[in-house]
Protein backbone atom coordinates (compact mmCIF):
# COMPACT_ATOMS: atom_id res chain seq x y z
CA UNK A 1 0.00 0.00 0.00
CA UNK A 2 1.49 3.29 -1.02
CA UNK A 3 -0.96 5.76 0.47
CA UNK A 4 -4.23 6.16 2.29
CA UNK A 5 -7.42 4.95 0.68
CA UNK A 6 -9.56 7.74 -0.65
CA UNK A 7 -12.31 8.46 1.85
CA UNK A 8 -14.88 7.80 -0.86
CA UNK A 9 -13.79 4.18 -0.81
CA UNK A 10 -14.50 4.00 2.91
CA UNK A 11 -18.15 4.87 2.40
CA UNK A 12 -18.63 1.69 0.36
CA UNK A 13 -21.62 -0.46 1.25
CA UNK A 14 -20.72 -3.16 3.76
CA UNK A 15 -20.42 -6.62 2.33
CA UNK A 16 -23.00 -8.96 3.77
CA UNK A 17 -21.79 -10.75 6.88
CA UNK A 18 -22.06 -14.34 8.02
CA UNK A 19 -25.62 -15.31 8.93
CA UNK A 20 -24.83 -16.04 12.57
CA UNK A 21 -23.08 -12.66 12.86
CA UNK A 22 -26.16 -11.08 11.32
CA UNK A 23 -28.26 -12.62 14.09
CA UNK A 24 -25.90 -11.04 16.65
CA UNK A 25 -25.85 -7.68 14.88
CA UNK A 26 -29.62 -7.51 15.06
CA UNK A 27 -29.46 -7.67 18.85
CA UNK A 28 -27.21 -4.60 19.12
CA UNK A 29 -28.77 -1.22 19.72
CA UNK A 30 -27.49 1.56 17.46
CA UNK A 31 -24.93 3.91 18.99
CA UNK A 32 -23.88 1.51 21.74
CA UNK A 33 -20.39 0.51 22.92
CA UNK A 34 -19.41 -2.96 21.82
CA UNK A 35 -16.42 -5.21 22.53
CA UNK A 36 -16.08 -8.15 20.14
CA UNK A 37 -13.78 -10.77 21.68
CA UNK A 38 -12.21 -12.97 19.05
CA UNK A 39 -13.20 -10.58 16.29
CA UNK A 40 -11.26 -12.44 13.57
CA UNK A 41 -11.11 -10.41 10.38
CA UNK A 42 -13.32 -7.71 11.91
CA UNK A 43 -16.39 -8.35 9.71
CA UNK A 44 -18.89 -7.88 12.52
CA UNK A 45 -17.07 -4.83 13.93
CA UNK A 46 -16.93 -3.22 10.52
CA UNK A 47 -20.63 -3.87 9.99
CA UNK A 48 -21.61 -2.52 13.42
CA UNK A 49 -19.43 0.57 13.09
CA UNK A 50 -20.84 1.52 9.72
CA UNK A 51 -24.42 0.24 9.76
CA UNK A 52 -25.27 0.86 13.41
CA UNK A 53 -22.94 3.70 14.33
CA UNK A 54 -21.55 1.59 17.12
CA UNK A 55 -18.39 2.41 19.08
CA UNK A 56 -16.86 -0.92 18.10
CA UNK A 57 -13.72 -2.42 19.64
CA UNK A 58 -12.18 -5.81 19.15
CA UNK A 59 -9.77 -8.30 20.69
CA UNK A 60 -8.16 -10.87 18.43
CA UNK A 61 -5.55 -13.48 19.30
CA UNK A 62 -3.90 -13.72 15.88
CA UNK A 63 -1.57 -10.85 15.08
CA UNK A 64 -2.28 -11.16 11.36
CA UNK A 65 -5.99 -10.76 12.09
CA UNK A 66 -5.34 -7.71 14.28
CA UNK A 67 -3.15 -6.02 11.69
CA UNK A 68 -5.75 -6.62 8.99
CA UNK A 69 -8.47 -5.11 11.21
CA UNK A 70 -6.44 -2.01 12.11
CA UNK A 71 -5.47 -1.53 8.48
CA UNK A 72 -9.22 -1.29 7.81
CA UNK A 73 -9.53 1.47 10.40
CA UNK A 74 -11.03 -0.75 13.13
CA UNK A 75 -10.03 -0.45 16.80
CA UNK A 76 -8.57 -3.84 17.58
CA UNK A 77 -5.89 -5.03 20.00
CA UNK A 78 -3.96 -8.26 20.05
CA UNK A 79 -5.11 -10.14 23.09
CA UNK A 80 -6.46 -13.31 24.60
CA UNK A 81 -9.92 -13.81 26.12
CA UNK A 82 -8.40 -15.94 28.86
CA UNK A 83 -5.87 -13.40 30.09
CA UNK A 84 -6.88 -9.92 28.98
CA UNK A 85 -10.53 -9.44 29.94
CA UNK A 86 -9.54 -8.74 33.53
CA UNK A 87 -8.07 -5.37 32.44
CA UNK A 88 -11.38 -3.97 31.24
CA UNK A 89 -13.42 -1.85 33.61
CA UNK A 90 -16.74 -3.01 35.00
CA UNK A 91 -19.67 -2.07 32.72
CA UNK A 92 -17.31 -0.38 30.26
CA UNK A 93 -19.38 -1.70 27.35
CA UNK A 94 -23.04 -2.04 26.50
CA UNK A 95 -22.34 -5.37 24.81
CA UNK A 96 -19.52 -7.90 25.00
CA UNK A 97 -19.66 -10.41 22.16
CA UNK A 98 -17.99 -13.82 22.29
CA UNK A 99 -18.85 -15.58 19.08
CA UNK A 100 -17.74 -19.20 18.59
CA UNK A 101 -14.86 -18.71 21.01
CA UNK A 102 -16.01 -19.82 24.50
CA UNK A 103 -15.33 -23.49 23.74
CA UNK A 104 -11.74 -22.62 22.81
CA UNK A 105 -10.88 -20.83 26.06
CA UNK A 106 -8.91 -22.39 28.92
CA UNK A 107 -11.31 -21.22 31.57
CA UNK A 108 -14.81 -20.66 30.16
CA UNK A 109 -16.25 -20.04 33.62
CA UNK A 110 -13.88 -17.12 34.34
CA UNK A 111 -14.34 -15.77 30.82
CA UNK A 112 -18.12 -15.83 31.24
CA UNK A 113 -17.87 -14.01 34.56
CA UNK A 114 -15.73 -11.31 32.98
CA UNK A 115 -18.14 -10.97 30.06
CA UNK A 116 -21.09 -10.19 32.32
CA UNK A 117 -18.91 -7.90 34.45
CA UNK A 118 -17.51 -5.69 31.69
CA UNK A 119 -20.79 -5.31 29.79
CA UNK A 120 -24.44 -4.69 30.41
CA UNK A 121 -25.26 -7.57 28.09
CA UNK A 122 -23.03 -10.42 27.00
CA UNK A 123 -23.80 -12.13 23.71
CA UNK A 124 -22.32 -15.62 23.53
CA UNK A 125 -22.57 -18.18 20.76
CA UNK A 126 -21.00 -21.64 20.61
CA UNK A 127 -21.45 -25.00 18.86
CA UNK A 128 -23.87 -27.34 20.60
CA UNK A 129 -22.22 -30.66 21.43
CA UNK A 130 -25.65 -32.04 22.29
CA UNK A 131 -27.10 -31.84 18.78
CA UNK A 132 -28.58 -35.17 17.71
CA UNK A 133 -26.10 -36.11 14.99
CA UNK A 134 -23.12 -35.44 17.25
CA UNK A 135 -24.69 -37.75 19.81
CA UNK A 136 -25.25 -40.38 17.11
CA UNK A 137 -21.69 -40.15 15.79
CA UNK A 138 -20.29 -40.73 19.22
CA UNK A 139 -22.83 -43.45 20.04
CA UNK A 140 -22.58 -45.43 16.82
CA UNK A 141 -19.29 -44.32 15.34
CA UNK A 142 -17.44 -44.43 18.65
CA UNK A 143 -15.20 -41.56 17.60
CA UNK A 144 -15.02 -37.84 18.32
CA UNK A 145 -17.50 -36.19 15.96
CA UNK A 146 -16.24 -34.10 13.04
CA UNK A 147 -19.10 -32.04 11.59
CA UNK A 148 -19.80 -28.88 9.62
CA UNK A 149 -19.51 -26.89 12.87
CA UNK A 150 -16.81 -28.98 14.54
CA UNK A 151 -14.44 -29.27 11.65
CA UNK A 152 -11.19 -30.49 13.21
CA UNK A 153 -10.02 -33.88 14.40
CA UNK A 154 -9.65 -34.28 18.17
CA UNK A 155 -5.86 -33.88 18.08
CA UNK A 156 -5.86 -30.55 16.31
CA UNK A 157 -9.08 -28.89 17.39
CA UNK A 158 -8.90 -25.55 19.22
CA UNK A 159 -12.17 -26.55 20.93
CA UNK A 160 -10.98 -27.78 24.30
CA UNK A 161 -14.14 -27.08 26.31
CA UNK A 162 -17.09 -28.24 24.26
CA UNK A 163 -20.48 -28.27 25.94
CA UNK A 164 -24.15 -28.77 25.21
CA UNK A 165 -26.75 -26.02 25.45
CA UNK A 166 -28.00 -27.56 28.69
CA UNK A 167 -24.48 -27.62 30.14
CA UNK A 168 -24.20 -23.92 29.39
CA UNK A 169 -27.54 -23.17 30.99
CA UNK A 170 -26.35 -25.01 34.12
CA UNK A 171 -23.19 -22.90 34.24
CA UNK A 172 -25.18 -19.68 33.90
CA UNK A 173 -27.40 -20.78 36.77
CA UNK A 174 -24.41 -21.65 38.93
CA UNK A 175 -22.88 -18.22 38.26
CA UNK A 176 -26.14 -16.39 38.91
CA UNK A 177 -26.15 -15.15 35.33
CA UNK A 178 -29.57 -14.35 33.86
CA UNK A 179 -30.37 -15.66 30.38
CA UNK A 180 -32.27 -12.79 28.87
CA UNK A 181 -32.66 -14.35 25.47
CA UNK A 182 -31.70 -17.69 23.93
CA UNK A 183 -31.98 -19.02 20.43
CA UNK A 184 -30.65 -21.93 18.45
CA UNK A 185 -29.15 -21.66 15.02
CA UNK A 186 -28.93 -24.17 12.21
CA UNK A 187 -25.68 -25.30 10.62
CA UNK A 188 -25.25 -22.13 8.56
CA UNK A 189 -26.21 -19.87 11.47
CA UNK A 190 -29.86 -19.14 10.64
CA UNK A 191 -32.11 -18.89 13.71
CA UNK A 192 -34.38 -21.90 14.17
CA UNK A 193 -37.82 -21.26 15.56
CA UNK A 194 -37.36 -23.48 18.61
CA UNK A 195 -38.16 -22.78 22.24
CA UNK A 196 -34.77 -22.24 23.88
CA UNK A 197 -33.36 -23.25 26.15
CA UNK A 198 -35.11 -26.58 26.29
CA UNK A 199 -34.68 -30.29 25.62
CA UNK A 200 -35.71 -30.05 21.97
CA UNK A 201 -33.38 -27.10 21.36
CA UNK A 202 -30.54 -29.06 22.93
CA UNK A 203 -31.27 -31.95 20.57
CA UNK A 204 -31.86 -30.03 17.33
CA UNK A 205 -29.75 -26.85 17.58
CA UNK A 206 -26.37 -26.78 15.84
CA UNK A 207 -25.35 -23.64 17.71
CA UNK A 208 -26.63 -21.71 20.69
CA UNK A 209 -26.86 -17.93 20.90
CA UNK A 210 -27.44 -16.40 24.32
CA UNK A 211 -27.92 -12.90 25.67
CA UNK A 212 -26.78 -12.77 29.28
CA UNK A 213 -26.88 -10.23 32.09
CA UNK A 214 -25.95 -10.18 35.71
CA UNK A 215 -27.81 -7.82 38.02
CA UNK A 216 -26.07 -5.31 40.26
Amino acid sequence: MTGPLPLAAQGRPRASIRVDLQAIAEMIEPGSRVLDIGCGDGALLDYLAHEKNVDARGIEISQAGVNACVAQGLSVVQGDADTDLKDYPTRGFDYAILSQTLQATWDPKAVLEHLVRISRRAIVSFPNFGVWHVRLRLLFGGKMPVTGTLTSAWYETPNIHLCTLDDFVDLCRALDVTIEQAMVLDSVGRPKGLQAPGRLANLLGEQGLFVLTRGG
Binding site: M1, T2, G3, P4, L5, P6, L7, Q10, D55, R57, Q63, V66, N67, C69, V70, A71, Q72, G73, L74, S75, V76, V77, Q78, G79, D84, D87, Y88, P89, G92
Partner: protein, 391 residues
Amino acid sequence: MTAHPSITTLDSAAASFTGKRFVIPASDPLRLDSGVELGPVTVAYQTYGTLNAEKSNGILVCHALTGDHFVADRHPVTGKPGWWEAIVGPGKLLDTDRYFIVCANVLGGCMGTTGPKDLDPATGQPYGLAFPVITIGDMVKAQARLIDHLGIDKLFCVIGGSMGGMQVLEWCSAYPERVFAAVPVATSYRHSAQNIAFHEVGRQAIMADPQWNGGAYQAAGTQPQRGLAVARMAAHITYLSETALHRKFGRKLQDRAQLSYGFDADFQVESYLRHQGSTFVDRFDANSYLYITRAMDYFDLQAEHGGSLAAAFEGTKTRFCVVSFTSDWLFPTSESRALVHALNAAAANVSFVEIVSDKGHDAFLLDEPEFHAVLGGFLNGAAEHRGLKFK
Protein backbone atom coordinates in the same frame (compact mmCIF):
# COMPACT_ATOMS: atom_id res chain seq x y z
CA MET B 1 43.11 20.78 19.71
CA THR B 2 41.03 23.25 17.82
CA ALA B 3 37.30 22.97 17.42
CA HIS B 4 36.14 20.60 14.75
CA PRO B 5 35.19 22.83 11.82
CA SER B 6 31.80 21.24 11.25
CA ILE B 7 30.89 21.57 14.93
CA THR B 8 31.65 25.24 14.67
CA THR B 9 29.27 25.17 11.76
CA LEU B 10 26.56 23.60 13.92
CA ASP B 11 27.17 26.14 16.70
CA SER B 12 26.96 29.17 14.54
CA ALA B 13 24.62 27.90 11.87
CA ALA B 14 21.74 26.46 13.89
CA ALA B 15 20.27 29.94 14.14
CA SER B 16 20.33 30.31 10.37
CA PHE B 17 18.91 26.91 9.39
CA THR B 18 15.86 27.02 7.21
CA GLY B 19 12.59 26.46 8.99
CA LYS B 20 10.38 28.50 11.24
CA ARG B 21 10.91 30.05 14.64
CA PHE B 22 8.56 30.82 17.48
CA VAL B 23 9.68 32.52 20.68
CA ILE B 24 8.20 31.88 24.09
CA PRO B 25 8.82 35.25 25.73
CA ALA B 26 10.68 35.81 29.01
CA SER B 27 7.56 37.64 30.20
CA ASP B 28 5.58 34.38 30.03
CA PRO B 29 8.26 31.74 30.50
CA LEU B 30 8.02 27.94 30.43
CA ARG B 31 7.45 26.60 33.90
CA LEU B 32 9.59 23.50 33.98
CA ASP B 33 8.92 20.37 36.05
CA SER B 34 12.07 21.16 38.05
CA GLY B 35 10.46 24.40 39.20
CA VAL B 36 12.75 26.57 37.08
CA GLU B 37 11.20 29.23 34.84
CA LEU B 38 12.86 29.31 31.43
CA GLY B 39 12.51 32.13 28.94
CA PRO B 40 12.89 33.35 26.35
CA VAL B 41 12.79 29.99 24.58
CA THR B 42 13.10 29.71 20.82
CA VAL B 43 11.20 26.81 19.26
CA ALA B 44 12.51 25.86 15.81
CA TYR B 45 9.89 24.02 13.79
CA GLN B 46 8.86 23.04 10.33
CA THR B 47 5.42 22.71 8.76
CA TYR B 48 4.20 20.90 5.66
CA GLY B 49 0.79 21.22 4.02
CA THR B 50 -1.99 23.65 4.84
CA LEU B 51 -4.12 24.09 7.93
CA ASN B 52 -7.79 23.84 6.91
CA ALA B 53 -10.39 26.49 7.77
CA GLU B 54 -11.69 24.45 10.74
CA LYS B 55 -8.09 23.96 11.94
CA SER B 56 -8.92 20.29 12.38
CA ASN B 57 -6.28 18.62 10.18
CA GLY B 58 -3.16 19.32 12.23
CA ILE B 59 -0.72 16.46 12.87
CA LEU B 60 2.16 16.93 15.30
CA VAL B 61 5.14 14.70 14.60
CA CYS B 62 7.42 14.21 17.61
CA HIS B 63 11.04 13.34 16.91
CA ALA B 64 13.30 10.86 18.66
CA LEU B 65 16.45 11.46 20.76
CA THR B 66 18.78 12.56 17.98
CA GLY B 67 16.11 13.64 15.50
CA ASP B 68 15.03 17.13 14.59
CA HIS B 69 12.24 19.05 12.88
CA PHE B 70 13.53 18.30 9.38
CA VAL B 71 11.05 15.45 8.94
CA ALA B 72 10.76 15.76 5.18
CA ASP B 73 13.49 18.28 4.33
CA ARG B 74 17.05 17.70 3.33
CA HIS B 75 19.08 17.89 6.53
CA PRO B 76 20.97 21.21 6.67
CA VAL B 77 24.15 19.64 8.10
CA THR B 78 24.32 16.15 6.61
CA GLY B 79 22.45 16.81 3.36
CA LYS B 80 20.53 13.56 3.86
CA PRO B 81 16.78 13.22 3.19
CA GLY B 82 14.37 14.02 6.03
CA TRP B 83 14.21 11.32 8.70
CA TRP B 84 10.59 10.36 8.03
CA GLU B 85 10.33 11.11 4.33
CA ALA B 86 9.18 7.49 3.91
CA ILE B 87 5.77 8.49 5.25
CA VAL B 88 5.57 12.30 5.19
CA GLY B 89 4.89 14.09 1.91
CA PRO B 90 2.34 14.60 -0.87
CA GLY B 91 0.32 11.40 -1.38
CA LYS B 92 2.21 9.60 1.38
CA LEU B 93 0.73 8.22 4.60
CA LEU B 94 1.02 11.54 6.41
CA ASP B 95 -0.29 13.19 3.28
CA THR B 96 0.72 16.82 3.12
CA ASP B 97 -2.09 17.36 0.59
CA ARG B 98 -4.55 16.45 3.36
CA TYR B 99 -2.92 17.25 6.63
CA PHE B 100 -1.04 20.14 8.17
CA ILE B 101 2.09 18.52 9.55
CA VAL B 102 4.06 20.22 12.32
CA CYS B 103 7.35 19.08 13.82
CA ALA B 104 9.39 21.04 16.35
CA ASN B 105 12.95 20.52 17.53
CA VAL B 106 12.64 19.50 21.19
CA LEU B 107 13.50 21.73 24.11
CA GLY B 108 17.17 21.13 24.95
CA GLY B 109 17.92 20.25 21.34
CA CYS B 110 20.67 21.65 19.14
CA MET B 111 19.02 22.34 15.82
CA GLY B 112 17.49 25.72 16.59
CA THR B 113 15.31 25.21 19.65
CA THR B 114 16.82 26.61 22.84
CA GLY B 115 19.27 24.16 24.41
CA PRO B 116 22.51 24.07 26.40
CA LYS B 117 24.69 25.40 23.57
CA ASP B 118 22.66 28.61 23.33
CA LEU B 119 23.49 31.81 25.16
CA ASP B 120 22.15 32.20 28.67
CA PRO B 121 20.65 35.73 28.72
CA ALA B 122 21.65 36.01 32.39
CA THR B 123 25.37 35.61 31.69
CA GLY B 124 25.83 36.18 27.98
CA GLN B 125 27.71 32.85 27.93
CA PRO B 126 26.53 29.51 26.53
CA TYR B 127 24.31 27.76 29.09
CA GLY B 128 26.38 24.58 29.24
CA LEU B 129 25.51 22.84 32.48
CA ALA B 130 23.68 25.97 33.69
CA PHE B 131 20.86 24.86 31.41
CA PRO B 132 18.05 23.48 33.62
CA VAL B 133 17.36 19.75 33.53
CA ILE B 134 14.31 19.24 31.37
CA THR B 135 11.71 16.49 31.10
CA ILE B 136 9.55 14.96 28.39
CA GLY B 137 6.74 16.96 30.01
CA ASP B 138 8.71 20.18 29.50
CA MET B 139 9.31 19.34 25.84
CA VAL B 140 5.57 18.84 25.40
CA LYS B 141 4.78 22.11 27.21
CA ALA B 142 6.96 23.95 24.71
CA GLN B 143 5.20 22.16 21.84
CA ALA B 144 1.80 23.05 23.29
CA ARG B 145 2.79 26.72 23.29
CA LEU B 146 3.73 26.39 19.63
CA ILE B 147 0.41 24.69 18.82
CA ASP B 148 -1.38 27.57 20.63
CA HIS B 149 0.63 29.99 18.51
CA LEU B 150 -0.45 28.17 15.34
CA GLY B 151 -4.09 28.63 16.40
CA ILE B 152 -4.78 24.89 16.71
CA ASP B 153 -7.08 23.96 19.56
CA LYS B 154 -7.23 20.23 18.90
CA LEU B 155 -4.67 18.25 16.94
CA PHE B 156 -6.04 15.57 14.65
CA CYS B 157 -3.11 13.35 15.53
CA VAL B 158 0.11 13.27 17.53
CA ILE B 159 2.58 10.68 16.29
CA GLY B 160 6.14 9.71 17.10
CA GLY B 161 8.55 6.83 17.64
CA SER B 162 10.88 6.09 20.55
CA MET B 163 11.33 9.35 22.53
CA GLY B 164 8.78 10.81 20.09
CA GLY B 165 6.34 8.18 21.34
CA MET B 166 6.99 9.26 24.93
CA GLN B 167 5.98 12.77 23.91
CA VAL B 168 2.84 11.36 22.27
CA LEU B 169 1.86 9.66 25.54
CA GLU B 170 2.68 12.79 27.52
CA TRP B 171 0.44 14.83 25.20
CA CYS B 172 -2.43 12.36 25.71
CA SER B 173 -2.01 12.49 29.46
CA ALA B 174 -1.40 16.23 29.89
CA TYR B 175 -3.69 17.58 27.16
CA PRO B 176 -6.24 14.82 26.50
CA GLU B 177 -8.81 17.20 25.06
CA ARG B 178 -6.30 18.47 22.49
CA VAL B 179 -5.47 15.11 20.88
CA PHE B 180 -8.05 13.35 18.68
CA ALA B 181 -5.81 10.43 17.70
CA ALA B 182 -2.44 9.26 18.97
CA VAL B 183 0.17 6.92 17.51
CA PRO B 184 2.92 6.00 19.98
CA VAL B 185 5.41 3.80 18.09
CA ALA B 186 8.25 1.65 19.48
CA THR B 187 8.07 3.38 22.82
CA SER B 188 7.12 3.03 26.46
CA TYR B 189 5.32 4.80 29.27
CA ARG B 190 8.56 4.75 31.24
CA HIS B 191 12.26 4.28 30.62
CA SER B 192 13.43 0.87 31.80
CA ALA B 193 16.45 0.26 34.04
CA GLN B 194 18.29 -1.23 31.05
CA ASN B 195 17.60 1.85 28.95
CA ILE B 196 18.74 4.18 31.74
CA ALA B 197 21.86 2.04 32.02
CA PHE B 198 22.70 2.44 28.32
CA HIS B 199 22.14 6.19 28.55
CA GLU B 200 24.43 6.39 31.54
CA VAL B 201 27.19 4.69 29.55
CA GLY B 202 26.76 7.34 26.86
CA ARG B 203 26.82 10.22 29.31
CA GLN B 204 29.87 8.87 31.10
CA ALA B 205 31.67 8.54 27.77
CA ILE B 206 31.01 12.22 27.06
CA MET B 207 31.94 13.41 30.53
CA ALA B 208 35.12 11.27 30.57
CA ASP B 209 36.37 13.10 27.48
CA PRO B 210 38.84 15.79 28.69
CA GLN B 211 37.60 18.01 25.87
CA TRP B 212 34.21 18.14 27.60
CA ASN B 213 35.69 20.57 30.14
CA GLY B 214 32.92 20.19 32.71
CA GLY B 215 30.40 21.08 30.02
CA ALA B 216 32.02 24.46 29.22
CA TYR B 217 33.70 23.24 26.03
CA GLN B 218 32.40 26.09 23.91
CA ALA B 219 34.14 28.68 26.07
CA ALA B 220 37.25 26.49 26.11
CA GLY B 221 37.20 26.14 22.34
CA THR B 222 37.12 22.35 22.53
CA GLN B 223 34.63 19.61 21.58
CA PRO B 224 34.18 16.24 23.31
CA GLN B 225 34.06 14.46 19.97
CA ARG B 226 35.57 11.20 21.17
CA GLY B 227 33.15 10.93 24.05
CA LEU B 228 30.10 11.82 21.99
CA ALA B 229 31.15 9.38 19.26
CA VAL B 230 31.50 6.54 21.77
CA ALA B 231 28.10 7.43 23.24
CA ARG B 232 26.60 7.22 19.77
CA MET B 233 28.34 3.92 19.00
CA ALA B 234 26.97 2.30 22.15
CA ALA B 235 23.49 3.69 21.55
CA HIS B 236 23.49 2.69 17.90
CA ILE B 237 23.89 -0.97 18.85
CA THR B 238 20.68 -0.73 20.88
CA TYR B 239 18.78 0.57 17.84
CA LEU B 240 19.55 -2.57 15.82
CA SER B 241 19.01 -6.27 16.38
CA GLU B 242 21.49 -9.09 16.52
CA THR B 243 19.93 -10.56 13.41
CA ALA B 244 20.19 -7.30 11.50
CA LEU B 245 23.81 -6.76 12.55
CA HIS B 246 24.75 -10.29 11.61
CA ARG B 247 22.98 -10.11 8.27
CA LYS B 248 24.65 -6.81 7.43
CA PHE B 249 28.17 -7.55 8.64
CA GLY B 250 28.57 -11.05 9.98
CA ARG B 251 32.26 -11.43 10.83
CA LYS B 252 33.35 -9.87 7.55
CA LEU B 253 36.66 -8.02 7.56
CA GLN B 254 37.05 -4.39 6.59
CA ASP B 255 39.36 -3.74 3.58
CA ARG B 256 41.67 -6.59 4.49
CA ALA B 257 42.09 -10.27 3.86
CA GLN B 258 43.18 -11.30 7.33
CA LEU B 259 43.18 -10.21 10.94
CA SER B 260 45.67 -7.45 11.75
CA TYR B 261 46.54 -8.70 15.23
CA GLY B 262 45.99 -5.15 16.45
CA PHE B 263 43.19 -2.84 17.49
CA ASP B 264 42.45 -1.28 14.16
CA ALA B 265 38.91 -1.76 12.82
CA ASP B 266 39.45 -5.28 11.49
CA PHE B 267 35.76 -6.05 11.31
CA GLN B 268 33.20 -4.29 9.14
CA VAL B 269 30.92 -3.87 12.12
CA GLU B 270 33.65 -1.91 13.92
CA SER B 271 34.22 0.29 10.94
CA TYR B 272 30.49 0.88 10.62
CA LEU B 273 30.13 1.89 14.27
CA ARG B 274 33.16 4.20 14.07
CA HIS B 275 31.57 5.85 11.05
CA GLN B 276 28.26 6.24 12.91
CA GLY B 277 30.10 7.86 15.81
CA SER B 278 32.27 10.19 13.79
CA THR B 279 29.45 11.50 11.58
CA PHE B 280 27.16 12.00 14.56
CA VAL B 281 29.48 14.55 16.18
CA ASP B 282 29.09 16.77 13.12
CA ARG B 283 25.39 17.20 13.72
CA PHE B 284 24.84 16.88 17.44
CA ASP B 285 25.83 18.77 20.56
CA ALA B 286 27.29 16.76 23.43
CA ASN B 287 25.51 18.66 26.20
CA SER B 288 22.21 18.35 24.35
CA TYR B 289 22.83 14.61 24.34
CA LEU B 290 23.25 14.68 28.13
CA TYR B 291 20.09 16.69 28.69
CA ILE B 292 17.82 14.82 26.30
CA THR B 293 18.89 11.37 27.48
CA ARG B 294 18.21 12.56 31.04
CA ALA B 295 14.73 13.67 30.06
CA MET B 296 14.01 10.17 28.72
CA ASP B 297 15.39 8.55 31.89
CA TYR B 298 13.11 10.67 34.06
CA PHE B 299 10.01 9.75 32.06
CA ASP B 300 7.60 7.56 34.04
CA LEU B 301 3.90 8.22 33.44
CA GLN B 302 2.96 5.48 35.86
CA ALA B 303 4.88 6.95 38.80
CA GLU B 304 3.54 10.40 37.97
CA HIS B 305 0.04 9.03 38.44
CA GLY B 306 0.42 7.39 41.82
CA GLY B 307 1.56 4.07 40.41
CA SER B 308 -1.50 3.59 38.20
CA LEU B 309 -0.76 3.96 34.51
CA ALA B 310 -4.49 3.74 33.75
CA ALA B 311 -4.98 6.90 35.81
CA ALA B 312 -2.80 8.77 33.30
CA PHE B 313 -5.48 8.16 30.68
CA GLU B 314 -8.65 8.25 32.78
CA GLY B 315 -11.65 9.42 30.81
CA THR B 316 -9.63 9.78 27.61
CA LYS B 317 -11.54 10.19 24.34
CA THR B 318 -8.40 9.90 22.21
CA ARG B 319 -8.17 7.09 19.66
CA PHE B 320 -4.88 5.25 20.17
CA CYS B 321 -2.85 3.11 17.80
CA VAL B 322 0.04 1.50 19.68
CA VAL B 323 2.74 -0.06 17.49
CA SER B 324 5.71 -2.24 18.44
CA PHE B 325 8.22 -4.34 16.50
CA THR B 326 9.14 -7.94 17.26
CA SER B 327 12.94 -7.44 17.24
CA ASP B 328 12.96 -4.16 19.19
CA TRP B 329 14.74 -5.02 22.43
CA LEU B 330 15.15 -1.38 23.49
CA PHE B 331 11.39 -0.80 23.68
CA PRO B 332 10.10 -4.38 23.55
CA THR B 333 6.51 -5.37 22.82
CA SER B 334 5.97 -6.19 26.50
CA GLU B 335 6.18 -2.45 27.25
CA SER B 336 3.56 -1.66 24.63
CA ARG B 337 1.39 -4.46 25.93
CA ALA B 338 1.51 -3.02 29.46
CA LEU B 339 0.50 0.34 27.99
CA VAL B 340 -2.39 -1.29 26.11
CA HIS B 341 -3.59 -3.03 29.26
CA ALA B 342 -3.67 0.33 31.04
CA LEU B 343 -5.51 1.93 28.14
CA ASN B 344 -8.04 -0.92 28.22
CA ALA B 345 -8.51 -0.35 31.93
CA ALA B 346 -9.23 3.30 31.13
CA ALA B 347 -11.81 2.12 28.55
CA ALA B 348 -9.80 3.92 25.87
CA ASN B 349 -10.34 3.36 22.18
CA VAL B 350 -7.14 1.52 21.38
CA SER B 351 -5.64 -0.46 18.55
CA PHE B 352 -2.44 -2.38 19.13
CA VAL B 353 -0.28 -4.03 16.53
CA GLU B 354 3.04 -5.79 16.79
CA ILE B 355 4.86 -5.74 13.47
CA VAL B 356 7.14 -8.63 12.55
CA SER B 357 10.52 -7.18 11.67
CA ASP B 358 14.13 -8.17 12.29
CA LYS B 359 15.39 -4.59 12.03
CA GLY B 360 15.27 -3.78 15.73
CA HIS B 361 14.21 -0.49 17.28
CA ASP B 362 15.03 1.53 14.16
CA ALA B 363 12.34 -0.39 12.23
CA PHE B 364 9.94 2.49 12.84
CA LEU B 365 12.09 4.71 10.60
CA LEU B 366 12.48 2.15 7.82
CA ASP B 367 10.40 0.74 5.03
CA GLU B 368 8.07 -1.62 6.88
CA PRO B 369 5.06 -2.19 4.58
CA GLU B 370 2.87 -3.78 7.24
CA PHE B 371 3.47 -0.92 9.68
CA HIS B 372 2.62 1.53 6.93
CA ALA B 373 -0.56 -0.36 5.95
CA VAL B 374 -1.73 -0.38 9.56
CA LEU B 375 -0.90 3.29 10.06
CA GLY B 376 -2.75 4.24 6.86
CA GLY B 377 -5.85 2.31 7.92
CA PHE B 378 -5.80 3.83 11.38
CA LEU B 379 -5.43 7.39 10.07
CA ASN B 380 -8.22 6.90 7.52
CA GLY B 381 -10.53 5.48 10.17
CA ALA B 382 -9.71 8.33 12.54
CA ALA B 383 -10.20 10.94 9.78
CA GLU B 384 -13.61 9.47 9.08
CA HIS B 385 -14.56 9.72 12.77
CA ARG B 386 -13.16 13.24 12.95
CA GLY B 387 -15.31 14.17 9.95
CA LEU B 388 -12.32 15.32 7.90
CA LYS B 389 -13.24 15.82 4.26
CA PHE B 390 -10.57 15.62 1.61
CA LYS B 391 -10.73 16.56 -2.03
